[in-house]
């Protein structure tokens, strides 16, 4: 032990040594300038004692005092304070209570990191998405915010006789986000939602997104065992499936924490295919890419109305919601009666008229009903290709090998949320998603 100093000695003497040294300086009046010798002598303690003087006073050796003082100074030293300077000057001054002037991202806890560890993209593909503008800074909740600002009174959602405009939707999202934050939902953590085709479920997901959290979208009517398995894999911090959701149009009660980034995970979708359900992870970017690609291919604009049915946990209704958010088209939620969705051209843009867009896989295209347009979509990549013969959507690439059609691209999923602790199982083979 240096100089015979124990940890207990440090704890014993550190406060006195810290105070007697230069660390806290106190001066009464202006004694030095006035050469007031008595006053100078009287306040020697306040202006700081040398290690030798402190040693004499405490009965320690000078080296011991130096050692204890230096250790104590290091232990109280805060490295993060310096960041405050990054936000100051050029007209901006610090105000008490500001906290860090330039706060970093909130830390993600271990559970949130498990979700992120499932994210897995092909680096070359990502560079391509960024260069081609297929991925950008758009977020789902950012779309809502922007539409509420640009077109507050326009109808965003319709469910039966209830219409919700963008401003109201935005306020409800903020209100619910605030309540979820109060309930403890943190950035990066999972919240599970009963994904009915109802405004409350839409608001809940967007609120989760606004907090930078991830929604586990669970189909209503899911078998009990399958649901248990999904919940066990995703380990939601908050389970909203058990809670009746009621939205409020009141002003949000608290300032929201920083919302999610476009590259953050935002949704977990259940992919069934026999055996245990798998959870496909999506980021804002993969979902936005799907919505943009499809909106472009179908020339959907803000004048259109999209009718969605089924669960928001399934590609048809989920895509309808994303299209509405991305384009500003009105979304009519038609309940659970139809198994696919269709577009109604209510303005200048839509080209499908009353045609139904049916989400199927490639071999099923030939059997589509007359007038329907087939879309190849899956939980891992919501919008891959259109029609028969297949035409890849912008940002997606198709490959045919040995009779198996595979796809990859900007709408592809981030990875499977594996067994807990999450195994970083991502799309194998450079992000190709095989049909089947």
């Amino acid at each position: 032990m240096p100089h015979g100093v124990t940890e207990r000695m440090i704890r014993t003497y550190a406060p006195a040594i810290f105070e007697l040294g230069l660390n806290i300086q106190r001066r009464k009046g202006d004694a030095v300038r006035k050469l007031d010798w008595a006053a100078i002598a009287a306040q020697r303690d306040g202006t700081g004692r040398t290690d030798a003087e402190i040693a004499e006073r405490l009965g320690l050796a000078e080296e011991q005092v130096t050692f204890i003082r230096v250790v104590a100074e290091r232990r109280v030293f805060r490295r993060d304070q310096y960041r405050k300077l990054f936000g100051l000057g050029a007209g901006k001054r610090y105000r008490a209570g500001d906290g860090l002037a330039a706060p970093g991202l909130p830390e993600l806890d271990a559970e949130a990191m498990l979700v992120r560890q499932a994210m897995h993209f092909d680096p070359e593909q990502v560079a391509h998405f960024a260069a081609e503008g297929l991925w950008g800074g758009e977020t789902l909740e950012g779309w809502v915010r922007a539409r509420a600002k640009a077109d507050p009174q326009r109808v965003a959602l319709k469910a039966g006789s209830v219409s919700i405009d963008w401003q109201t939707l935005d306020r409800r999202v903020s209100h619910r986000a605030a309540r979820l934050a109060e309930a403890g939902l943190e950035r990066g953590r999972v919240a599970s939602v009963e994904a009915t085709a109802a405004p409350e479920a839409v608001v809940a997901w967007l609120a989760i997104a606004r907090l930078g959290a991830v929604a586990l979208l669970l189909p209503p009517g899911q078998a009990m065992l399958e649901r248990r398995l999904c919940l066990a894999k995703a380990r939601p911090q908050i389970d909203l499936t058990a809670t009746p959701l009621a939205d409020s149009d009141a002003e949000p009660p608290l300032i929201l924490p920083r919302s999610g980034l476009a590259s953050d995970p935002v949704a977990l979708l259940v992919a069934e295919g026999g055996g245990e359900p798998k959870l496909a992870l999506h980021t804002h970017q993969t979902l936005a890419a799907a919505a943009r690609a499809l909106a472009g291919a179908l020339t959907i604009g803000s004048g259109d109305t999209i009718t969605a049915s089924g669960s928001l946990a399934q590609p048809p209704a989920l895509l309808a919601l994303l299209l509405a958010l991305a384009t500003g088209a009105r979304l009519d939620l038609a309940g659970d009666t139809q198994s696919s969705w269709h577009l109604t051209a209510a303005g200048e843009a839509g080209v499908l008229g009353q045609a139904r867009l049916v989400v199927v896989g490639p071999p099923s295209f030939e059997s589509l009903p007359a007038g329907a347009i087939g879309l190849w979509g899956r939980p891992e990549a919501l919008a891959i290709a259109l029609g028969h013969p297949l035409v890849a959507l912008p940002g997606m690439t198709l490959r045919q090998e040995g009779g198996v059609i595979s796809a990859r691209g900007a709408c592809g999923f981030a990875g499977w949320l594996g067994e807990m602790p999450a195994a970083p199982v991502g799309p194998a083979d450079g992000g190709w998603i095989a049909h089947g």
Binding site: F18, G21, L22, N23, I24, Q25, R26, R27, K28, G29, D30, V32, R33, K34, L35, W37, I40, R44, G48, R49, T50, D51, A52, E53, T66, R69, V70, E73, R74, V76, F77, R78, R79, Q81, Y82, K84, L85, F86, G87, L88, G89, A90, G91, R93, Y94, A96, A101
Partner: protein, 306 residues
């Protein structure tokens, strides 16, 4: 010729003044070493460095341009201090004294005493300058202020010459009337109010003079010195929970920014925070506080002379 002009030490004093002014200083004062010894902590007076020291010469070089004061705190962390000009003027003066008068002289390193870590200076340059009458202690952690120049940077030269001493200032420009007004209204002076680590406190008396100045110097050191940063980074790197955390700690932007400062040397490693001074009416409002004001005064004087 006056008696004063006949005195060779008075002549030397005038020559010293002319020399340092020509090297970029704007203020110079002298105090006898014994007076400093009487106040400095034992072992930290001038004679600890130059045993036969008779006089201490304190010089002040100007602070920032007005543009610098108006810039971001980030910019000020690099160019807010004036260590370079101090070296030029004070180091040069030590050579000038030896060459001209043949008397041992020493530029006082404005550095820490390596025996005691990184918080204890070899000498208090502030004490030298205050006693030599070129600055008075402010409420902003005892930073010296000058009524004409506002914030100065100080350097010292010790010499065995027995030079005629000056006296401390008759009055203290701190607190300024505006500061007294704010203190009466809000209980804080501007420097106290805007310090980002809230390390300044204290009080004014009935007459609006300094009653007590308190500075949590250890907090100011987190902004201005950051000498513990290196050890702290290494320690945190060693105990980092994951490899990625270790990379962020040892090679992230914070570590790189810090190491850049350390390796780039002069002007970037200390005196990095100026938020109290930025808010100080003396610092920004003194008659010769910045080159713009200095230029104006010069032109006015030249015009009056013409």
């Amino acid at each position: 010729m006056t008696a004063q002009a006949d005195n060779p030490m008075e002549q030397a004093k005038a020559a010293i003044k002319a020399y340092v002014l020509s090297r970029g200083a704007v203020a110079v004062g002298i105090i006898d070493a014994d007076t400093v010894e009487r106040i400095a902590p034992p072992g930290f007076g001038p004679k600890a460095l130059l045993p036969q020291a008779r006089s201490v010469i304190a010089i002040g070089v100007p602070g920032c341009t007005r543009g610098t004061w108006r810039s971001t705190a980030k910019v000020m962390t690099f160019i807010g201090n004036s260590v370079g000009p101090i070296y030029r003027a004070a180091f040069g003066l030590s050579f000038f004294l030896e060459q001209t008068y043949g008397q041992p002289s020493l530029f006082v390193p404005p550095h820490i005493d390596p025996e005691y870590g990184n918080r204890i200076p070899l000498q208090s340059l502030k004490l030298h300058a205050e006693l030599a009458g070129i600055g008075a202690r402010s409420l902003a952690g005892d930073i010296l202020l000058h009524p004409e120049f506002g914030l100065l940077y100080y350097g010292s030269v010790l010499t065995e010459m027995d030079l005629p001493p000056d006296r401390p200032m008759d009055s203290n420009p701190c607190p300024s009337p505006a500061c007294v007004k704010l203190y009466r209204a809000e209980g804080q002076t501007p420097c106290q109010k805007f310090c980002p680590v809230e390390c300044l406190s204290g009080s004014l008396d009935e007459a609006g003079q300094i009653d007590e100045m308190v500075c949590d110097m250890y907090r100011c050191a987190e902004m201005c010195q950051r000498y513990e940063t290196m050890g702290d980074l290494i320690h945190d790197g060693i105990v980092a929970p994951t490899e990625l955390d270790r990379e962020e700690i040892l090679y992230g932007a914070e570590a790189q920014g810090f190491l850049y400062r350390v390796t780039s040397g002069i002007g970037a490693t200390h005196a990095q925070c100026f938020e109290c001074m930025r808010a100080c009416p003396v610092v920004t409002g003194a008659p010769l506080a910045d080159p713009i004001r200095m230029g104006e005064a010069k032109r006015k004087a030249a015009k009056a002379k013409a």
